[in-house]
Amino acid sequence: MTFEWQFALEVLPQLLLALRVTVLATVFGILLAAILGLVWTLARRIGAAPVAFVARYSVEFVRSTPLLVQIYFLFYVAPEFGITLSPFLAGVIALGIHYSAYLSEVYRAGIDAVPKGQWEAAKALNLGPADTWRRVIIPQALPPVLPAMGNYLIAMFKDTPMLSAITVMELLQTAKVVGAEHFRYLEPLTLVGVLFLLLSLGSAALVRWGERRFNVAALR
């Protein structure tokens, strides 16, 4: 079997269209994970005891169960509780929740690394809790953990093929369908691999660039 360039070019537009779905799922997924992760972290640090308890064990639970199970659960089981989601939305939410647990740990590490003197200075200046977090702690906690967050962005991107399990027409699922139509899998699946590689490398470069920018701004 030889690699047919002609066929590869023919199916490329279809795959690029599917890549859009993959990228969108990643973008919405990481946004949800970033926000939800911060909510977990703050709930664990400043929430009342029951809130902190729930947040802590939710994170533990999510981290200790497979992403694929969570995806299935949201898509096939949630409707029985009256929550019916489109495949894409269920996938994005599953990705967001799953990775929020990891990002929560990343935030925690960043916050723990802010020196105690910064908290004391904020208190001595009588800043309230909201201003202390927003203006003093979080701006110092985030830049050092940006590389770790970037790694999870790329990991999430590479996990999007799991959404094919609930019929989201993302890149891999589309390649499978295209392959089945033409009885040729070599070209579509190779293209999937190459596209993932290119975008992962691209995001890694983007993360490094963001990191440099942030660190210059923070002048540490």
């Binding site: 003197g117 004391e120 200075a121 208190k123 001595a124 009588n126 800043l127 203006r135 002048l219």
Partner: protein
């Protein structure tokens, strides 16, 4: 007249370690008070409790007649809640040994962040006041610099301006020259000297700079092992200390400094 700061039988323990073992101290309004003593004697802990960074183990503190760590409630005293502590904190400012400037903010932002978000002043007004204060500490040319670009002495002067920007009634200086290279100590002491002479703020200084303490203080308190051993006018404490422990401490530290 009641003292401005009244400290009664203040104790503080960290686990088994008794850092303060019963401090009684009255500070009248406007007094410049230096607290001296060996390291580990508990001097800084007094300031940290006044700034509400540490909770006392027992004892009472009142500022301007108002309990600091307690609230009056139908004639009984109850532990202070967050709101009470926040209201009381507005009277007190503090400068730290290690500056604790916000590294991600410019000098100007460091000085304006609290006036803007605590006093809710407009940007214009908070910047106007910040620039005045930074002029006073000799740093009006560094407005857009970040702390990392400043020397230790400059950082500490920014920290002083930052604390002053909230116009506290009481300023606490916790070994503010101890982390500085020797040649930078003078510029910070000059700022403190001006403050002591020009303002009617009540100032409490924990310091190892004996000559400076002697020059600017109205009163000096010597603390050892969590207790006040001796106090009085600087002349008396430094020239003819009554207590053996004070004499030993002064001999040791002055021998080092001369």
């Amino acid at each position: 007249m009641a003292p401005y700061i009244a400290i009664r039988n203040l104790t503080k323990s960290f686990g088994k370690l008794d850092v303060l073992r019963g401090i009684d101290l009255d500070v009248p309004q406007g007094e410049k008070l230096s607290i001296i003593g060996p390291s580990g004697s508990g001097k800084s802990t007094i300031l940290r409790i006044l700034m509400t960074l540490e909770r006392p183990t027992s004892g009472e503190i009142a500022i301007d007649g108002e309990p600091l760590w307690h609230m009056r409630n139908n004639g009984t005293l109850r532990p202070a809640n967050k709101r009470h502590l926040r209201a009381m904190r507005a009277k007190v400012g503090m400068v730290f040994q290690h500056f604790n400037l916000f590294p991600h903010m410019t000098v100007l932002k460091n000085v304006t962040v609290a006036p803007r978000h605590v006093l809710r002043l407009s940007r214009e007004e908070s910047e106007f006041r910040a620039i005045q204060l930074l002029e006073k500490v000799g740093l009006s040319e560094k407005l857009t610099a970040h702390p990392a670009q400043l020397s230790g002495g400059q950082k500490q002067r920014v920290a002083i301006a930052r604390a002053l920007a909230l116009y506290p009634k009481i300023m606490l200086f916790d070994e503010v020259t101890s982390a500085l290279d020797p040649e930078l100590v003078g510029e910070v002491l000059n700022v403190l000297r001006d403050l002591a002479q020009e303002t009617d703020m009540t100032m409490l200084l924990v310091t190892h700079e004996m000559r400076f303490a002697r020059e600017i203080s109205d009163r000096v308190v010597f603390i050892d092992q969590g207790l006040i051993i001796e106090q009085g006018p600087p002349e008396a404490i430094f020239s003819e200390p009554a207590e053996m422990r004070t004499r030993e401490f002064l001999r040791a530290i002055l021998g080092e400094q001369s």
